[in-house]
Amino acid sequence: MSANLSAFLYLVAGVLFILSLRGLSSPASSRQGNLFGMIGMAIAVATTLANHPPADGLAWVLVIVGIAIGAAIGAVIARRVPMTSMPELVAAFHSLVGMAAVLVAAGAFYAPEAFDIGTPGNIHPQSLVEMSLGVAIGALTFTGSVIAFLKLSARMSGAPIILPFRHVINVVLGILLVVFIVGLVLSGSAFDFWMIVILALALGVLMIIPIGGADMPVVISMLNSYSGWAAAGIGFTLGNSALIITGALVGSSGAILSYIMCHAMNRSFISVILGGFGGETAAAGGGTGEQKPAKLGSADDAAFIMKNASKVIIVPGYGMAVAQAQHALREMADILKKEGVEVKYAIHPVAGRMPGHMNVLLAEANVPYDEVFELEDINSEFAQADIAFVIGANDVTNPAAEEDKSSPIYGMPVLQVWKAGTVMFIKRSLASGYAGIDNPLFYRDNTMMLLGDAKKVTENIVKAM
């Protein structure tokens, strides 16, 4: 196959990847988009194998066995993973992209002829620059994603780990990284190459450990972005347009998602990176308001009030997913709809543990996506709603974000549930939420607290209906 033809086919693959993201502009076109992505990937792999076939029989065996192992593991994971674990899965996948970038660069470093970038010990300086950037970002993505995975899957505490002098350590590591990148470009030595890998691995750990659990949606988006930039860096080394296009797409996608998540939490990107959030605020907010009286209700009361309402807006939070209450919730909504009650769902951008997580969880419970609305689209409707049914959410409904300038979440966009006729809260207790802030809504006159496990309470409401 001629070099021009293969370059053209890589371009086709790149365009198909663009179309696969484009398909996600609506659920109706999304499945076709995913198919475009798969076709693009098949074209890219087939082109590489046709243009640079494995050199001998053993190499073919390695390639086929490698693909088979990866495919089997990937398929099993994709089928088995519960939807609540999507954030961990995505973090784990990011780490694999990062590590693959490091390994591919290492392969290119030891066998540069295969990549047309020079001969061993005599690689073009420009390729070394591209390679070292890809390696550094890839290694950083790898360890950063591993830490994010451990935090998201609760194998490691979500509390921020603050090392003394951490900013100094990070700056020193960053400077050393630059020194070794320059060293690699000048000398082409393997020592410099592996020093870059080690330093970037360390930097990845240090960057993510001080970031608290509440900021994980930003971290996971940010690592998505990094994995893209790492791929683009390797794409420059290989001179492969499919890889460059994809890296740029993924890099900007992750950057936009990070921006959206930061905006939804009213946090600046810099303050998330600097970390520490979720630790000290918990200490400041805990244990203050619990003496105040809250109005407690029973499942029967809730069922009666809701059946006689004309419009109910359901506000689900991560607590609902933890309790696996989404199916019971949908059952409740179905009964209400049969009674002629208008039911809508309101989703805050950070309702789940990653961007769009809550939408997936509701979709899994067979909630039609045209009943689910984003914050900006539904906030004006709470005033006309008889009931706001808050299940497993807390901070995203906290009026302090709009009223109390001293609150740590002041300025964060929130769902204005308090404008509804009655607010029902399903919660385990009156304790503060994930961000560790007391919610004054619990003690208002038009609020009814339904204390208990989200799933049990919802099931009791369904029974009472």
């Binding site: 495919a71 290492a106 460059i244 984003e374």
Partner: protein, 105 residues
Amino acid sequence: MEHAAQVVDPFIFRLSIFVLAVFVGYFVVWSVTPALHTPLMSVTNAISSVIVVGALLAGGVANVSSGSGWARAFGFVALIFACINIFGGFLVTQRMLAMYKKKSK
């Protein structure tokens, strides 16, 4: 006139593709509905594993020196990682997207 000598470095072409793709990505991703942001992340994961082309090159290199032996080993492991991502990423995205249904009426 020495036009023949003024060849543009391929790096500049790659850079042009990269910069334009960043802009394409910017506009395409803003048009993604927030309801599909999780599938967006899993599919970007899958497509960024097109890095598999590098793994195939390294894994299939001619075995002529100790260097190429290392390249094969690195390529093999990278191939497994990238394929986990490709298959896992596309299939889990497909599974998620299959759940998004309209009101059945």
